[in-house]
């Protein structure tokens, strides 16, 4: 049960219980506000009864030519509201916007290689592991770059997995 709407600044004051989760990063203000200022359509929040924050998704759209893509920066759901397919709903929304409004070729995201539950979930949502990024997280843990092709990428070229892992400085975008 969720009302999904654009994320707004005041939500930053209300997402405490979602962000207390140890796998959910609390970024600095300019990070959130840059996303809000540049890609407000990619930052959505789900509210439940009593206006409780159930979870949110933040992302952006970037790239050139055939690498024009939507990117999921963070998606998180409060423990109380897990196992109800909310993350799926939020992901679908972002994919929809990337696909229909911004006509992107694919959506991608990074996930800790050790975060098995999340990887499984993304796979269920149609994402494949495109490449491994060595020591992506604080120079320690590897990250997995997962992708899902959108309708514009008819031949699904964007998601053909790379044969070798890359290093963070080889990444095209931050």
């Amino acid at each position: 049960m969720a009302t999904i709407r654009r994320f707004c600044c005041n939500d930053l004051l209300r997402f405490t219980s979602v962000n207390l989760d140890h796998l959910t990063e609390t970024f600095n203000m300019s990070f959130y506000m840059t996303y809000l200022a540049r890609w407000p359509d990619y930052f959505h929040v789900a509210e439940g009864p009593g206006n409780r924050i159930m979870g949110y998704i933040m992302g952006k759209v970037e790239g050139q030519g055939e690498s024009w893509h939507g990117h999921v920066t963070a998606v998180t759901v409060s423990p109380e509201y897990r196992r109800q397919q909310l993350a799926k709903k939020l992901m679908n929304l972002l994919e929809d916007i990337s696909d229909k409004i911004d006509k992107a070729y694919f959506v991608d995201l990074f996930v800790r290689a050790s975060n098995t539950p999340a990887i499984k979930m993304y796979e269920k949502l149609g994402y494949v592991i495109y490449r491994r990024v060595l020591r992506y997280y604080s120079g320690e843990e590897d990250g997995l770059d997962m992708r899902k092709a959108l309708s514009r990428d008819v031949e699904k070229k964007s998601i053909i997995p790379l044969k070798r892992p890359v290093t963070p400085d080889e990444l095209e975008y931050d």
Partner: protein, 1011 residues
């Protein structure tokens, strides 16, 4: 950044690039060297100078940087031929902004725009300057100029946003909106609109003027197609229709949204609002995206006739049934919760349908009772039921749970829900102690029994049944509150620590531990768990309330300092960068975010916690430096002698503070400075809505800030007053007391007295009475620290004013010195008399810490000021011609006071030493004997025993390797040891503070011996 022809600010780019590279890689020394040689070649280049200024600023040489940049600015102004290029301007702008001189940056751009009025780059730079200064009117004027010049839609919208800001955040009247509307209309007529955000702003301008019809018209016209997400458009339409009072059309729109997204709860509420013609949710614009959770109790329904109401409700039911039939996914809850909402509205309308309401909740439970969010889903509905009915509902739920699911995880979820509802209903207080105990036992057993369900989960995932231990803790706290038996609270700690041994990420346990450890005087341990929550950035604003109040009255100064510093740095950084981010929103044409950003910044600036932190971090510095008057004076100098805070104190009454704390994550019983249930006697409740806690806090905080922000000024004046009085006393040609100091101090004392609830003369009488024993210490109420501070400052003022009459008591004159001495002695030695520390509460300790680090410390400053004035420059001999000092009563008073103060602190240090040196075994014995269940009767220890028994039956095949290994590492002794060590840390820190004070007092004694 190079401009045309490879020139940067008139200088070949190849000469400039190495400097920028050096700056970017933070090699400032190298950058400065390169910049000096550049300046040798181009001595009059404003750009070269601006670069140098930038480097100097980054090196921390702000004064030099300012003078260089001012020189660059002068050259820029003077030299007609010099290039007024964008690079020079923007570089200077960066320097001025970093030097906090936005005004200078603005004047550069104003000058540039004056010189070349049609330069769009300069105008954009100027607009940016006004955004940084929050000068909405000038923003508007500049944007209009740009719009006239370039005719672009975005500049018009910049102007419109600037107008909206004047109305919403400035002092512009609503009539300005008409101007904005006119501008937009004209533009639309000639060029239409092309950006979805432009349309949103247009509609909001109309909506703010209550022109709903016009807004709707635009939305349904061609412009409406700019909004690509259908649901978003419908939501705006629905809102406009409702606000217009066209409920029938509104109902249809919301119905449409629900057909598209049947799980949209807010939309369902709006649907019902429209159907029942209830406008309460739209009346208050501020309630749109509120920060607080919404509690809905009231609805406006009385205007409908009975028949109308019945027919609308029947429509709603039909619609909801259709939604239920159309949705197959079994996680869609809205159409089911909707039924409860319909029953709730019926109840509010006056239908006596408690039964039906309860029945729908039971149905909802049968379908969704296993979900963790069940309780929060129905929480608001319970509010309309009386306590009796709530209890009845609980019974019905329990009855229906006889047919629990056969899927173990579901069955566990359903059982947990029942326990949560019981907690929420709040009738635990009526249960006898033994039943409560059974309840805690049941919860822990259920937790242990169901651990195998989590066997295969990833260690980072939350486990099934985690909540049970938090609930068990809450019950144990209730038992402690009722029986005052320390064992229960220790047991609660053990339960949580046990839970964390199995899953170290459960933040709910950590929050509970923060409060329990704080309450038991193991604040360093509480802080340890707080840090484990990794609270940073905006969470500091919403979450620090869990630890900050305790830390403010503790001796953990280093940790407190870090806490305050990190928080203030975060807030100040945001205030600094917020305008640039606002400009980013302008540039990316997300106009609605412009308004939002400015409002958000204002909201944070008025944060009560921010103001408290600012005042308290200054007071902390004053406390930390109070043993040396010279250091204290330099702190005071940085604080402008407390003048700013004095202003804050005066303004606070007219400021509307914001309260951004998140209370949801905090159990209702956790102590706040306003209310600490655990200290008082049992009040016959087992649940209290958090709103009450917030209300008390909101009422109290402005008073606290008003009082605390007087302190720095009063300390400053007291030091002055003391020094002046001594000079006056002993120097024949000495300075005559500055009447301004004395009168200001008197004024503040008067003000202080009023804040304590009486007139100055009454306040003097109270301190006199309490110090002489004629009045009980109760007269100070809960404001002991404020009263003692008052007495200290009163003495300082009286030194130069001699206005306080000194009545004879038993033939002895009672001076204000004596008042202070005896008050300090009375209160400090009283508190110190508490005996066993391990199971006592931190309240007493924090009181003691405050007494020593505030009134006593301030009094020591008064003494230091006197002594310093007696020994004019260091240890020089007495000045010739001075009066004979040795027998003066003042000297006598000072010597007496030093001796008395020193004696007090020594006593405290002795007591602290005694507790610190107490053997660990002795303390562990106290803890474990409190957990030892004796015989069959009531008493703590049962839950602890269950955990112990569970550990010894640890079955690896059942629990899996992860949980089983974690269980093996469980050590209650280790928990107890850490607890004792945690208590000692604060005592040790406090002892260090005392020792430093003793040292300082001894030195004063020696100095006095030379007088």
């Amino acid at each position: 950044m190079a401009s045309k022809f490879g020139l940067a600010g008139g200088i070949p780019e190849r000469r400039v690039r190495p400097i920028w590279d050096a700056i970017d890689s933070r090699q400032f020394k190298n950058a400065l060297k390169l910049s000096t040689s550049l300046l040798a070649k181009y001595p009059d280049s404003p750009y070269a100078l601006a670069l140098k200024a930038l480097i100097l600023e980054r090196m921390g040489k702000c004064d030099e940087s300012l003078s260089v940049s001012l020189h660059a600015k002068d050259l820029l102004y003077k030299n007609d031929s010099s290039l007024m290029d964008d690079l020079t301007l923007s570089t200077l702008q960066i320097v001025f902004q970093r030097l906090d001189r936005l005004d200078l940056a603005t004047s550069c751009y104003e000058f540039a725009c004056g010189k070349s009025p049609n330069n769009m780059d300069h105008m954009m730079g100027l607009f940016n300057c006004y955004v940084r200064e929050y000068s909405f009117v000038k923003q508007q004027q500049t944007a209009i100029k740009m719009y006239k010049h370039a005719g672009e839609e975005r500049f018009l919208l910049w102007a419109v946003c600037s107008i909206q800001l004047q109305v919403l955040c400035g002092n512009g009247g609503e009539k300005l909106l008409l101007l904005a509307e006119g501008l937009l209309k004209k533009h639309v007529a000639s060029q239409s609109l092309h950006e979805p955000e432009a349309l949103i702003v247009y509609i909001s301008i109309l909506e703010q003027q209550a022109k709903y019809g016009e807004a709707l018209e635009i939305l349904s016209g061609t412009l409406g197609s700019l909004l690509m997400i259908e649901v978003d458009k419908l939501r705006i339409q629905g809102r406009l229709l409702a606000r217009q009072g066209d409920y029938a059309a509104g109902t249809k729109i919301y119905q449409k949204i629900l057909e598209l997204s049947p799980d949209d709860w807010e939309c369902f509420l709006h649907y019902l609002d429209c159907l029942l013609e209830d406008d309460s949710s739209w009346c208050n614009e501020a309630s749109h995206h509120p920060v607080r959770l919404q509690k809905f109790v009231d609805c406006k329904l009385s205007h409908l006739t009975n028949e109308m109401f019945d027919s609308r409700i029947s429509d709603a039911l039909t619609f909801v049934q259709k939604l239920q039939a159309d949705t197959s996914a079994d996680f869609i809850r809205c159409p089911y919760l909707a039924k409860i909402e319909i029953e709730r509205r019926k109840l509010l309308f006056g239908k006596n349908n408690n039964d039906e309401l309860m029945e729908t909740v039971v149905h909802y439970y049968l379908r969704f009772g296993h979900l963790a969010c069940f309780t929060s889903d129905v929480e608001n509905f319970l509010l309309v039921l009386s306590l009796d009915k709530k209890t009845e509902l609980l019974k019905r739920l329990k009855k229906s749970s006889n047919s629990l699911s056969t899927v173990p995880i579901k069955a566990l979820g359903q059982s947990i829900t029942l326990l949560k509802i019981q907690e929420l209903v709040g009738n635990l207080y009526s249960l006898p102690v033994d039943e409560l105990e059974r309840s805690a036992v049941q919860m822990s057993q259920m937790y242990c029994k169901n651990l195998p369900l989590s066997k295969d989960l990833d260690p980072q995932e939350s486990m099934h049944g985690e909540e049970l231990l938090s609930m068990a803790c809450n019950v144990l706290v209730q038992l402690f509150w009722r029986t005052r038996n320390f064992g229960y609270i220790m047991e609660a700690i053990m339960v949580l620590e046990f839970g964390l041994t199995i899953r170290r990420y459960v933040w709910q346990y950590k929050i509970l531990l923060v409060h329990l450890y704080s309450h038991l005087g193991a604040l360093s341990l509480a802080y340890h768990w707080y840090k484990a929550l990794d609270i940073k950035n905006i969470l500091m604003e919403t979450f620090s309330h869990q630890i900050l109040p305790q830390m403010l009255v503790s001796s953990l100064w280093v940790d407190l300092n870090n806490l305050l510093r990190d928080y203030l740095r975060f807030m100040d950084d945001h205030f600094r960068e917020s305008a640039d981010l606002t400009f980013l929103a302008y540039r990316h044409r997300n106009y609605s975010k412009v308004i939002e950003f400015v409002q958000f910044k204002e909201r944070l600036q008025c944060s009560n916690q921010y103001l408290v932190a600012r005042v308290e971090s200054s007071i902390l510095q004053l406390k930390q430096n109070s043993d040396s008057i010279e250091e204290e004076e330099s702190v005071l100098e940085n604080l402008k002698c407390g003048v700013h805070f004095l202003e804050l104190s005066n303004e606070i009454g007219s400021k509307s503070l914001t309260f951004n704390e998140d209370w949801q994550s905090r159990p209702w019983w956790t102590p706040t400075p306003e209310k600490n249930y655990l200290l008082g006697p049992f009040e016959g409740i087992s649940y209290c809505p958090k709103e009450n806690m917030m209300k008390d806090r909101e009422a109290n905080i402005p008073r606290v800030i008003e009082r605390r922000s007087l302190l720095p000024r009063m300390i400053y004046l007291s030091i002055q007053s003391a020094s002046v009085s001594v000079k006056e006393n002993f120097e024949v040609n000495g300075s005559i007391s500055d009447p301004k100091i004395s009168s200001e101090l008197k004024f503040l004392l008067d003000h202080n007295a009023k804040m304590l609830g009486c007139s100055l003369s009454d306040a003097i009488e109270v301190v006199l009475g309490v110090s002489s024993g004629l009045k009980s210490s109760e007269a100070f109420g809960a404001d002991v620290i404020d009263w003692l501070n008052f007495a200290v400052f009163l003495n300082a003022w009286n030194l130069s004013s001699h206005e306080v009459m000194q009545p004879d008591v038993d033939g002895c004159r009672t001076s204000t010195w004596h008042i202070v001495n005896s008050l300090l002695k009375k209160f400090i030695l009283d508190v110190r008399s508490m005996e066993s520390l391990v199971c006592s509460l931190r309240f007493d300790l924090s009181m003691l810490v405050q007494l020593v680090t505030e009134p006593l410390a301030w009094h020591m400053l008064v003494i230091q000021s006197c002594v310093r004035s007696l020994l004019p420059s260091g240890k020089k001999k007495k000045k010739s011609g001075s009066a004979d000092q040795s027998t003066s009563p003042l000297l006598h008073e000072i010597r007496d006071s030093i001796q008395s103060t020193c004696g007090i602190v020594e006593e405290v240090a002795k007591w602290l030493g005694h507790h610190i040196n107490r053997s660990e075994d002795e303390n562990l014995d106290i803890i474990f004997s409190s957990l030892q269940k004796s015989g069959e009767g009531e008493g703590p220890g049962q839950v602890f025993q269950i955990l112990g028994a569970f550990i010894s039956s640890n079955n690896e095949t059942e629990l899996g390797d992860g949980i089983s290994q974690a269980l093996k590492s469980w050590s209650p002794v280790e928990v107890a040891r850490k607890f004792v060590a945690g208590q000692r840390t604060e005592l040790r820190e406090f002892l260090l503070i005392c020792e430093s004070k003793i040292k300082s007092l001894k030195a004063l004694q020696q100095q006095m011996a030379q007088v």
